[in-house]
Point group: C2
Chain length 284, copies 2
């Protein structure tokens, strides 16, 4: 496996892989790789001849009061994990390398899909995500790009970007990977104290109950979200940002009983750490 830090070198590697007729899988990450990322790299390795894992803490998707500086950076460990999972390249560029101009060129998805949920409290977040992911798509020219269902809204935003801008690739979305105790894997879990971690288990617990009630026939969105909200609010260390249901795809408002496929998503702070989790509610 090769660690690549410049755009020029990545381009050479990709050109060589293309010339050799290899299919390319891209796994865009912000590093601090955990088992969630490992599952993405593994899937990329199974489905493609050549796997690029990008490790880039993208400044443009962090708001002014967010954790850009504190975000964990563990490149050595990331390279080891990526290699073990079958990556051919870890691409870890500097910010200057990814943003070569003084002024920005933005790629921005508009509409409900970027406005609701995290879009409300993190208004510039998805513009940063779509911009950097566009750059990575153009650089790595992947046949398939891998993202985790953990970031459910990001997945919907990127699906629309790919559709609207006609990116010539397949988005592959992998299931949420959880700790044994149910907490969804996240690079931000390392911020949690032991008691905060325990408290945060309410997220997966309450979402699971909602999923069971849905499976048992509950189609009232308000009843489902209110039960989740109450259970989370009862945990003294929690501070709820949102507990909401939207229709899939594209996060449209729910009117009347739930039909088709819906996303029940939560964002909750424990101490200074903001966690997200979600379940998809759909009839089997």
């Amino acid at each position: 496996m090769k660690l690549v830090k410049t755009v020029a070198e990545l381009r050479e590697e990709i050109a060589a892989a293309k010339t050799a007729g290899k299919t390319i899988g891209l796994v865009p990450t912000m590093g601090a790789l955990h088992e969630g990322h490992a599952s993405l790299i593994k899937a990329a390795n199974m489905e493609n001849d050549f796997v690029v894992v990008s490790v880039f803490v993208n400044p443009t998707q962090f708001g002014p009061n967010e954790d850009l500086e504190a975000y964990p950076r563990t490149l050595d460990a990331d390279c080891k994990l990526a290699e073990a999972m079958g990556a051919d390249i870890v691409f870890a560029p500097s910010a200057k390398e990814m943003y070569p101009s003084e002024d920005m060129t933005w790629v921005e998805v508009t509409g409900n899909v970027t406005k609701v949920l995290c879009g409300r409290s993190r208004p510039i977040h998805f513009r940063g995500v779509t911009t950097v992911v566009s750059k990575l798509f153009n650089l790595a020219q992947p046949d398939r790009a891998y993202f985790g269902q953990k970031d459910a809204q990001q997945v919907e935003v990127l699906k629309r970007m790919v559709k609207d801008l006609f990116f010539n690739l397949q988005l592959r979305v992998m299931p949420i990977v959880r700790e044994a105790d149910g907490l969804a894997k996240s690079s931000r879990n390392t911020y949690l104290s032991g008691s905060e971690h325990q408290a945060a288990l309410v997220l997966s617990r309450s979402l699971k109950k909602a999923q069971e009630r849905f499976a048992a026939g509950e189609r009232n969105a308000a009843a489902l979200t209110e039960a989740v909200r109450e259970e989370i609010a009862a945990e003294p260390m929690s501070n709820i940002d949102y507990v909401e249901i939207y229709r899939l795809p594209e996060l449209q408002p729910v009117n009347g009983p739930l039909t088709g496929s819906s996303l029940l998503a939560v964002a909750v702070k424990f101490g200074t750490t903001r966690l997200i989790d979600n379940v998809i509610l759909e009839e089997k």
Copy 2:
């Protein structure tokens, strides 16, 4: 030559060309093809194995009071010209085909390069251009894309977009093609009455004089622009939008004497028709 109207069909054609190992040249146009476009298609044909000419009057680059409805549409003639110049595909999609979602996904270059010159009077214009050109780049996956120096600011904006988003292609910029009388070829020239056409000759005449003065040693930007402005203003049918000089690349303000490469650009209305023209001032 094949006329293609859907994204799906274009994708098939491109995939087949790629599989056959062909290089691809893309000539994005809004149709109403003239000799300026012909020179682009010809160049694309000489430098690539497979040439795609897109013909799409892109609604998102027209302001609310601009000539979207009136813009000339001459698809049959365009196909004939494109074929004669060696095009393999004319891609003429509907607006719905190019903009499949109700909400937009924008690609937007920020900074001086989009704010000055036409950016001032046409504030949404370049966002529309970069958005549609991104889509065309992703669809046609060209090795080279062809644009005319006539739209000098568009060229600078697209150069920055390609640089910032890492599009994997070469921008080829072809010289302005002019009528025998000096008027720069433009699809909008068909709007001009005979007397407006005569009046509009002041553009190329005054720009040529400025170029001669620059060649003779004049390096004072204000002196050059003022002379052009005065000559155009002296033409009773003219209505000046701008006469300005910016440093290349990226249209930075000129401070002190002209050095390196600069763009002297004009936008002037004759009746209801807004024309642009320009010269590059650079030391040989």
